[in-house]
């Protein structure tokens, strides 16, 4: 069994997918992992829209330049800004709910990696168009699109900064 650090290191942004549909149960498992992410004041101001209808997917793709590699499925992660405001005030609405969604997305992508799936988190899309396509109510905004599918090929990891390069001890500038 892979340890969590193995999965974290194994995850890549995938931009070439096999045309193989993913069972809905598996997609729901990914959403479950996302919903177990922490959220500010436990607000859980998020919604997950599983897109597996090819017609809807094609239309999303036309308005999402960042959606590459023809994935068979996407999950659109949305925020409920009203809920976030009611629970977390301005900070909750403008910042915290987005951080929560990012953590949820990482959970989703890590479980996907463990299941042999590839993912890519995408922000290059037109929010207004996605709003119309998915018929989102006004208070719900699309924040991230996660493309999901079986990877066509293995992707080499990009260079990472070392822990020493990005860490300090106790105060800024104090190298580890």
């Amino acid at each position: 069994m892979n340890s969590i650090i193995d999965i974290i290191i194994k995850r890549r942004s995938i931009r070439h997918y096999k045309q193989e549909d993913i069972p809905k149960d598996l997609l729901l498992e990914l959403v479950k992992a996302a919903t177990w992410a922490p959220s500010a004041s436990n607000m859980q101001a998020w919604y997950f829209i599983i897109v597996n209808d090819k017609k809807v997917l094609n239309k999303i793709s036309s308005f999402s330049p960042g959606l590459l590699g023809n994935p068979p499925n996407v999950i659109v992660i949305c925020s409920d800004r009203n809920k976030a405001f009611n629970k977390g005030g301005k900070l909750g609405r403008d910042e915290l709910c987005l951080m929560d969604i990012s953590m949820a997305a990482e959970n989703l992508m890590l479980l996907a990696t463990e299941k042999g799936l590839g993912t890519c988190a995408i922000k290059s899309f037109n929010g207004k168009a996605i709003q119309k396509i998915l018929e989102l109510p006004d208070y719900v905004s699309s924040e991230l699109i996660i493309s999901i599918g079986y990877p066509m090929k293995e992707v080499k990891p990009p260079k990472r900064k070392t822990v020493e390069e990005v860490s300090f001890e106790n105060r800024w500038g104090e190298r580890i």
Partner: protein
């Protein structure tokens, strides 16, 4: 190739144009070569183009374009190569 194919390409271009205002500068260059690839494959699948040299250029773009998010210098090198290759094809 039908009207809907054209609509999709136009939607992609317009969305990219709007996105480029807020997105990292290099994404603009990426979107332009991406649209070259999209157009080529659309034309080829409809038997509207059959130029092997151009096909090889597009293959090169498709193979190397993602380097744009990892290594900007290599991506610029790819763009320079593509321009050199295209120069040989244009009368």
């Amino acid at each position: 190739m039908n009207e809907q194919d054209i609509m999709k390409i136009f939607s992609y271009i317009a969305t990219s144009a709007r996105g480029c205002i807020d997105e990292p500068k290099i994404y603009g260059s990426f979107r332009l070569v991406e649209i070259m690839s999209k157009l080529f494959w659309m034309l080829k699948s409809n038997n509207l183009i059959a130029n092997n040299k151009l096909n090889r250029i597009i293959d090169k773009i498709d193979e190397k374009k993602y380097v744009c998010v990892k290594d900007e210098k290599k991506f610029i090198g790819l763009l320079d190569e593509v321009i050199d290759d295209l120069f040989e094809l244009v009368d």
